[in-house]
């Protein structure tokens, strides 16, 4: 089986994006002080990335709402909530 990139994998899933209304917000000043940055490696859809300066950048589109980032965050660097009802990820197999 051909290996799929993470983008290809997420491309298999349906989303209804609440444009401009992220359900998760990171606090860059706090993330800057975080030595672990576990969110970057553990997020199953790679929504957390590091920019060239090593700052955490976050995109909420494509989020699976699994809650992992909220639990592994050691610095309380994010505000986490569910998206509006009916929005976000929509699994068809599950």
């Amino acid at each position: 089986m051909k290996k799929l990139s993470i983008e290809d994998k997420i491309g298999l899933v349906k989303f209804k994006v609440d444009t401009g209304k992220p359900h998760i917000k990171i606090k860059p000043e706090i993330c800057k002080t975080c030595p672990e940055k576990y969110c970057v490696t553990i997020c199953p859809v790679e929504n957390y990335k590091l920019d060239e300066q090593g700052n955490v950048i976050f995109a909420f589109e494509g989020c699976y709402e699994c809650g992992t980032c909220r639990i592994v965050c050691t610095k309380c660097g994010l505000e986490w909530d569910y998206p509006l009802g009916g929005y976000g990820v929509c699994f068809r197999e599950g």
Binding site: I6, V13, I71, P83, G85, F91, R92
Partner: protein, 437 residues
């Protein structure tokens, strides 16, 4: 003035729907709030549905429910980077109904069907509705919920929290402490399309009325706590793995990279060859066990399913049945409280008593030592699984060395890697954790 119903259930998964179904059947006015577009749209499991609790509610579910295949064959395999060593079961009784109450399912489909049954029984299911908080009276008692809708306040006598593994509401109600990584496993999974005949051929199954469940330990999780799986559906296979959050974070493991590696393992590759990727999903599992449970009742509120951490973290990995069972028991306790006209904690304590008498708490209690033991023994997979595979491989090598010489080398290898004291210690702790609490 906000509307009022008897019972609000938050979450349209197995626990919430089982609860709503039971209440609606008894004529209790019940509304289920589901945040997804439809029940199941946010839900993922491996997954095997253990149907012992479902059969109590809907004895003929097999004829109507979108279950995939009964699990008639199981394999448990230790894998290293390139090798595998396993045991297989093939109990012919399990090929006949009720199939040991094991069926593979795809949750987006199953949960929708289950919710429809509750709706037919008289429950109201309102999808696309997030419950954000509770409404309290002057005495700080819960008297309803705030939903994220216009005029979304609903008053009720009792709230049943079945809002899943990330139960923010259980925390808001003061029923649980902060979530800790050690109590959670992250699961990632691919559903891969394969024709039914190919599935039968590759997994040695006689027909679509037979199914396989393979569980993998060791290299699949980079030798940290967790496991991998392949389950056969009717025309697809579910392949995935779960890793302990704390271990994966510390090692900087990317879950989907582990999954890619697993899918490329020489033992796994031929099983999924030429399959069609259908869906990639991920979900958390509560793995805190007995000691990871929140308080499950208080004034006017009960917690069931994953929100209450009702997952048997041992090799059985039962969760769906414990969710449904707890939903049914929550409904029973609510009905009793309703009869008394008293939804205080004292009255709802009946729920905890029912749980204690049921397999939910009995099974969690039996394995109460397990999560602690596994977390405090990260060497287990590293030391024993790889060694077992290597020794088995050595045992079967055919070459110029005599069997006696070969086996002497094997002993030397084993004692070079594990000390007698450590082996005794681990064996004792394993015995206490898995067999005799």
């Amino acid at each position: 003035m906000a509307e009022k119903v008897d019972v609000v259930v938050v979450g349209g998964g197995p626990a919430g729907i089982a609860c709503a179904y039971t209440l609606a059947k008894a004529g209790v006015e019940t509304i289920v709030f589901e945040r997804g577009g439809y029940p199941g749209s946010k839900n993922v499991m491996g997954g095997i549905l253990f149907t012992n609790a479902l059969a109590k509610l809907i004895p003929d579910f097999r004829e109507h429910a979108p279950v995939e295949r009964p699990v008639t064959k199981r394999k448990f395999l230790a894998i290293s980077e390139k090798d595998a060593l396993g045991v297989e079961t093939g109990f012919s009784d399990f090929s006949r109904p009720p199939h040991n109450n094991n069926f593979t399912v795809l949750r987006a489909r199953f949960d929708q069907w289950f919710a429809n049954q509750a709706e037919d029984a008289g429950a109201m299911i309102l999808s696309e509705t997030v419950v954000d908080d509770f409404i309290y009276d002057d005495n700080k008692k819960i008297i309803g919920v705030k939903t994220r809708r216009d005029d979304g306040d609903i008053l009720c006598n009792c709230v049943v929290l079945a809002d899943g593994v990330n139960s923010l509401l259980a925390k808001k109600a003061g029923l649980r402490s902060e979530f800790k990584p050690k109590d959670f496993v992250l699961g990632v999974k691919m559903v891969l399309g394969l024709p039914a005949e190919k599935i039968c051929e590759r997994f040695s199954l006689e027909s679509k009325n037979d199914g396989a469940a393979y569980e993998f330990f060791g290299a699949v999780t980079n030798n940290i706590l967790g496991s991998g799986f392949i389950y056969t559906n009717l025309e697809s296979v579910s392949i995935g793995l779960g890793v302990a959050l704390d271990g994966a974070c510390k090692l900087g493991l990317r879950p989907y990279e582990l999954l890619d590696k697993f899918m490329d393992h020489p033992y796994v590759r031929p099983l999924i060859k030429d399959s069609e990727p259908i869906e990639y999903s991920a979900h958390l599992l509560p793995e805190g066990g007995y000691h990871g449970m929140p308080h499950v009742f208080h004034d006017n509120v009960l917690v069931c399913g994953d929100a209450a951490s009702f997952v048997n973290t041992s090799i059985y990995h039962e969760g769906s049945n414990l969710a449904m069972e707890s939903g049914i028991l929550a409904a029973k306790a609510v009905m009793q409280a309703r009869g008394r006209g008293d939804f205080s904690a004292k009255s709802l304590m009946k729920y905890a008593e029912y749980l204690q008498e049921s397999i939910v708490i009995k099974d969690l209690k039996k394995y109460e030592r397990l999560p602690g033991f596994l977390h405090s023994s990260p060497h287990l997979f590293n030391n024993y699984l790889d060694l077992a595979i290597e020794l088995a491989k050595d045992y079967f090598i055919v070459d110029e060395l005599s069997k006696g010489e070969r086996q002497k080398l094997m002993f030397k290898k084993a004692w070079g890697r594990v000390s007698v004291m450590q082996l005794i210690g681990d064996a004792y702790k394993s015995f206490r954790s898995f067999i005799w609490n």
